[in-house]
């Protein structure tokens, strides 16, 4: 068992980082909304799902197949922009329809959570029953494949481990997006508004912060990050389905908690940590134990560090 684990260590590390990058980007949405509203946006997984379908639509519409070189970069950027717009827009609408009315009425957090769960199911069923069939001409319940748009060329090898182009693209894109978001939250006015609202919403109003705008921006940014994740996901695994977000959402939320919910850098760390743990664990004990291992580690970490690895949260984070 241990020998096998060592043999596959490199490959599993590369795969784990790739999956982890996607977890991390999705985790950002959970973490930001939680930071600002103390709400677990259950429907965030569907925001991700919508991004995958938006990207798939463009891929099919333009008949994109296996672009290389600069063309591939161009395709990737275009897909990311489209998916960011789709997911970001969907997130804003979600907030408007499912959360804002409750917030204005000062409803309890439990009510908001129920609304979130309802919105999640609603969006899934909407895609399954109404949207997918006419747009993609496939039964709404089907898994739909995507043509290749991220190259599989081997860039370099470390021992037996081949690092392919798409591995690098995914990890690098995720890190770039993280830096962009981190800088947005640290340096821009809207970012200061987000942090102020997360840390003390009442005082933020006394500073002239329009909470409605901040909440909308939070959903927009979180949704846009899910859109980026969706494109990378589609590029890596080349398929999507109406309920594709569910398990991934659970994992991403776990990553957010693992890193310290409300903490942007924690989401990145948690995402990579979870991706690696899953793959290493699966190699060691068999894939059946994959989720068990990941969640066991989560429980253990939370036992000793209830606030996650980085501990701090957006409320207290200095950055």
């Amino acid at each position: 068992m241990f020998q096998e684990f060592l043999n596959q260590f490199g490959t599993n590390t590369v795969g784990g980082l790739t999956a982890g990058a996607i977890y991390a980007l999705v985790a950002l949405g959970y973490t930001m909304v939680y930071g600002v509203l103390r709400l677990i946006n259950f429907a965030h997984s569907e925001i991700f799902m919508i991004g995958t379908f938006a990207a798939l639509f463009v891929v099919l519409q333009f008949g994109i197949t296996a672009p290389t070189g600069l063309a591939m970069v161009g395709v990737l950027v275009m897909l990311i922009l489209v998916a960011m717009a789709a997911s970001g827009g969907a997130a804003v609408l979600l907030e408007l329809a499912a959360y804002r009315p409750l917030r204005k009425r000062g409803a309890s957090r439990l009510a908001a959570l129920i609304s979130a769960i309802g919105a999640s199911f609603f969006l899934q069923e909407l895609f399954k029953l109404v949207i997918i069939q006419p747009v993609f001409d496939k039964p709404g319940g089907n898994q739909i494949g995507s043509p290749r748009f991220l190259g599989r060329e081997t860039l370099f090898s470390i021992g037996d481990t081949k690092v392919q182009l798409y591995h690098v693209i995914i990890v690098v894109s995720a890190i770039i997006m993280m830096i962009v978001l981190d800088q947005t939250v640290t340096r821009t006015k809207i970012g200061r508004g987000i942090r102020a609202t997360a840390q003390d919403p009442e005082t933020a109003v006394l500073m002239g912060v329009n909470i409605d705008v901040i909440v909308r921006m939070t959903f927009l940014l979180g949704g846009a990050m899910a859109g980026v994740a969706a494109v990378l996901y589609l590029g890596a695994y080349e398929n999507t389905k109406f309920d594709i977000g569910f398990l991934l959402g659970v994992k991403a939320f776990t990553a957010a908690v693992l890193g310290g919910i409300g903490n942007l850098r924690g989401a990145l760390l948690g995402g990579f940590a979870l991706g690696l743990l899953e793959n290493w664990g699966a190699a060691f004990f068999g894939s059946t134990w994959r989720d068990v291992i990941a969640f066991t580690v989560l429980v253990i970490i939370l036992m000793f560090r209830p606030t996650g690895i980085l501990g701090e949260s957006l409320q207290r984070a200095r950055a």
Binding site: E202, T203, V205, M207, V209
Partner: protein, 267 residues
């Protein structure tokens, strides 16, 4: 009148916190609200800032009815507040906290920053420290400085002396006076009635959501009922308070325990 509150009622759910409060603040004044715990002082300030909605009544500011104006817009209109408990953003540096004060405003902030750092040299020294790690007194200075960054026409202060050592209280009160002298109207909520009344021009006494007295501050200092209820039937918090009967004009009759408050000479 710069700020006029007419017969406002405010509820938390079904519970009435304010049951018809009327207060007026004229330009250039320091007006203080005193009252016991739970009287409704904080609620009054929150309502003026737009954090709590009115059930009924009217608030006019600079000739404009702002009763329905959302809170974040009132800041731009000229209402600044240093809230109860200071409301420092713990994860932001001192400098960032101050910049938050200028959040809604467009254009340069340099002049205001300089002025705040001039008023509170302590803050200038601690520019890059996280707000959450500052001492209570420093946080209070930061809260006031940050409110000043909004360039308020009226500055609402909610118990700036809460939890501070007497020496610091004196220093804070001196700065409030300085701020007022530089042209900002002040509405001050205090439990530290003695010093508030010495500083203010006029005062209102609030009990259970109603104004029970309003008079020039110096009159209330002599008022036996007020003395009994809020001034402990005796002098202020420390023995250095001014002599009985001495008028508490704003010209520096602030209780200062020692010569530490030298800055007031510079006003």
């Amino acid at each position: 009148m710069l700020l006029e509150i007419e017969d406002i009622h405010v509820h938390y759910g079904k519970i009435a916190a304010l049951k018809g409060i009327s207060i007026a603040v004229d330009e250039g004044e320091i007006v203080t609200l005193i009252g016991g715990n739970g009287a409704g002082k904080t609620t009054t300030l929150k309502t003026i800032s737009g954090l709590r909605p009115l059930t009924s009544g009217r608030i006019t500011f600079a000739g404009q009815d702002i009763s329905k104006m959302p809170g974040h817009k009132r800041v731009l209109a000229g209402i600044g507040q240093a809230p109860e408990g200071r409301g420092i953003f713990p994860g932001m540096t001192v400098h960032e906290n101050l910049l938050m004060g200028a959040y809604a405003r467009k254009g340069e902030v340099k002049a205001e920053l300089d002025e705040v750092y001039d008023l509170f040299p302590r803050l200038a020294e601690r520019r890059t420290q996280a707000g959450g790690t500052m001492s209570g007194g420093e946080q209070q200075m930061l809260a006031i400085g940050r409110a000043m960054m909004t360039k308020p026409k009226v500055l609402l202060l909610d118990e700036p002396s809460m939890g501070l050592a007497p020496m610091l209280v004196a220093q804070i009160f001196e700065i409030i006076q300085k701020i007022n002298e530089r042209g900002t109207t002040v509405l001050l909520v205090e439990q530290n009635a003695q010093q508030a009344l010495q500083l203010a021009h006029r005062a209102y006494v609030i009990e259970t959501g109603r104004v029970v007295k309003s008079a020039p501050a110096s009159d209330l200092l002599d008022d036996p009922e007020v003395r009994a209820a809020y001034l402990g039937g005796d002098l202020g918090v420390d023995g250095d308070a001014p002599q009985d009967g001495e008028p508490a004009a704003k010209e520096g009759q602030v209780a200062t325990p020692n010569g530490d408050a030298s800055t007031r000479e510079g006003a």
